[in-house]
Amino acid sequence: MEIVHVYSKLRAEFGRQCLFSDRPAELLVDVPPDPSLAQHFIQKKPRDQALQACLDMSEHQVNTKRFESESRGINHVEGGWPKDINPHEMEQTIRFRKKVEKDELYVTSVVQLGQGMEHCIRQNNAVDIYQEYLEEEEEEEEENQVAPSIASTQNVYPNELKRTVTGLSWHPDGGRKLAAAYSCLEFQKSSRDLSVDSYIWDVENPNRPEMTLRPPSPLVCLDYNPKDPHTLLGGAYNGQIVYWDTRRGSTPVEVSSVETSHRDPTYKILWVQSKTGTDAFSASTDGQVLWWDVRKLSEPTDRLVLDPSREGNLDQALGAVSLEFESTMPTKFMVGTEQGVVISCNRKAKTPAEKIVCTYDSHHGPVYALQRNPFFPKNFLTVGDWTARIWSEDIRESSIMWTRYQMSYLSDACWSPVRPSVFFSVKMDGTLDVWDILFKQNDPTLSLKVCDEPLYSLRLQDNGRLVACGSQGGGATLLEVCAGLSTLQKNEKSLLASMFERETKREKILEARQREIRLKERSRSEQSRSEDGGREDGEDSPDQLIARAEKDFFSVVEAEKRKRRDREEQSNGVRTKP
């Protein structure tokens, strides 16, 4: 069957008929060449033409499969004995051995081998053939050409959602795992569907986190328990404290109650050394430092209000942004505040007023990082505004050493756990600086641009070789530090100790001088006041003061009048003289 489609249109609707006609070609425009125009142009000869004949190269990346290796042991049983001989039977084995010994081949081989062996033995006895010559030279070149040798970037742990890595903590046992806290710190910027999870990453696998932690609210800071590597504490954005046990899974084992926790994000949480190993303390910008026992997170065991006037007044309290605790000094700790003041506190004080020992006026902005030098606990490092400062506990007035004002805000810093004179800092322009104060004080020894986004947190692994830094975009970068910056140099401790002493002494002298000047001024002003005081003592009443004021006034007027009269007389006298 033929499929036919018929469609019809009225003749009138076709429109006007096209009528074509034939026409010869006609010239429309003729533009003759105008040689005068050529004057405008210069003929260029010779002409240089560059040619390139090179190989086409293309870049490829290959990722090989992971090579899995296993260690196995071998159990050696005596073997090799011919079938008819039972290895446990002494007689048979002895007989076998005797037979072999009679073999001629045996004799010749042993004699031959013996000769070669003797030569080597004698060689060994004569000279140590593996002796290292020129050993000292190797050490010298290490020195501080360390700077160009790099910290190599190892792994980046990305995150699709844009949350800042606000806290990092290494696993205490060997540092194979890194816990990272993600939260959006900008006020009211986080949307409802932004994930609240924080992750634990395995160093070897940057693609997927090893474990996810699900707090009720995004975590601002994290800390692994140094005594029990399975437990973690986290401080949340809503002020709560959350406790996990990694063996139990992603949901927290316990969460502190909202009424008794902080009223602002918990900026820092640290485990404290205690007999039970379950104590921790946390600090927040609401001005409180709370102590917790993780077995009972429903309310804090102790509270300290960071009021510099020591009245415990919450309204006057300074907001805390960083905490510092050194396990060698369990009763003392330090708090860095938003207002730029570092407060040193004593845990064991009897009254709350005595808890705050002293304050250091450190930075123009919040003190983002605070850490004691692991080798010299009397000196600590603070970071805030555009500088990093090193302080000595005894000097309250100013820091003993400080860096120059950098180009961008410093957001975190920490000392190297292996080298007392090295510390790391991260800035808001995404660079990681390594400072070696024995080598160079003005500039960082090594400056590395880690990423384009601001870096917010920094943590060093306990062996000093791996550094993890977290950025605003949610990526945590792991870098390896070269051997020169992570191995203790000889004399380093003594050199650094003498440097700190020298700077401390300098500051002490300056402080003493300041005090002297102030004392002198005060005594001068007191002195002058005491002289006036002799006169004033007898004239206390206001009437007498008024009388005195009048007397002074009139005497001044009289003196002025007299002067004018004298002047007039003089000028008159001059005129009438001749």
Binding site: E101, V107, G114
Partner: protein
């Protein structure tokens, strides 16, 4: 027979030599100056090591063959002289 004894005595007399083992190609210790347990351990482990080393050398160049092996460790040095059928193993403590 006498030459063998003489050779071994000479080697044993060198400074620092702790022990000598002669192993055959199947790994059976023929003669030893150490105690049984150590002998078994050394014989078994070193036999495999020498086999591996020899096959490595020959894999790289079939014309080549292993002539001597020295394993220097922190505490001593183990020297192995391989032959077609037997190995001579000497454990020495270098004097330095």
């Amino acid at each position: 027979m006498a030459e063998v004894e003489e050779t071994l005595k000479r080697i044993q007399g060198q400074k620092g030599v702790q022990g000598i083992i002669i192993v055959n190609s199947e790994g059976i210790p023929i003669k030893t100056t150490l105690d049984n347990a150590s002998t078994m351990q050394y014989a078994g482990l070193l036999h495999q090591l020498v086999m591996k080393a020899r096959s490595t050398v020959r894999d790289i160049d079939p014309q080549n063959d292993l002539t001597f092996m020295r394993v220097r460790s922190k505490k001593n040095e183990i020297m192995i002289a391989p032959d077609k059928d037997y190995f001579l193993i000497v454990i020495q403590n270098p004097s330095d």
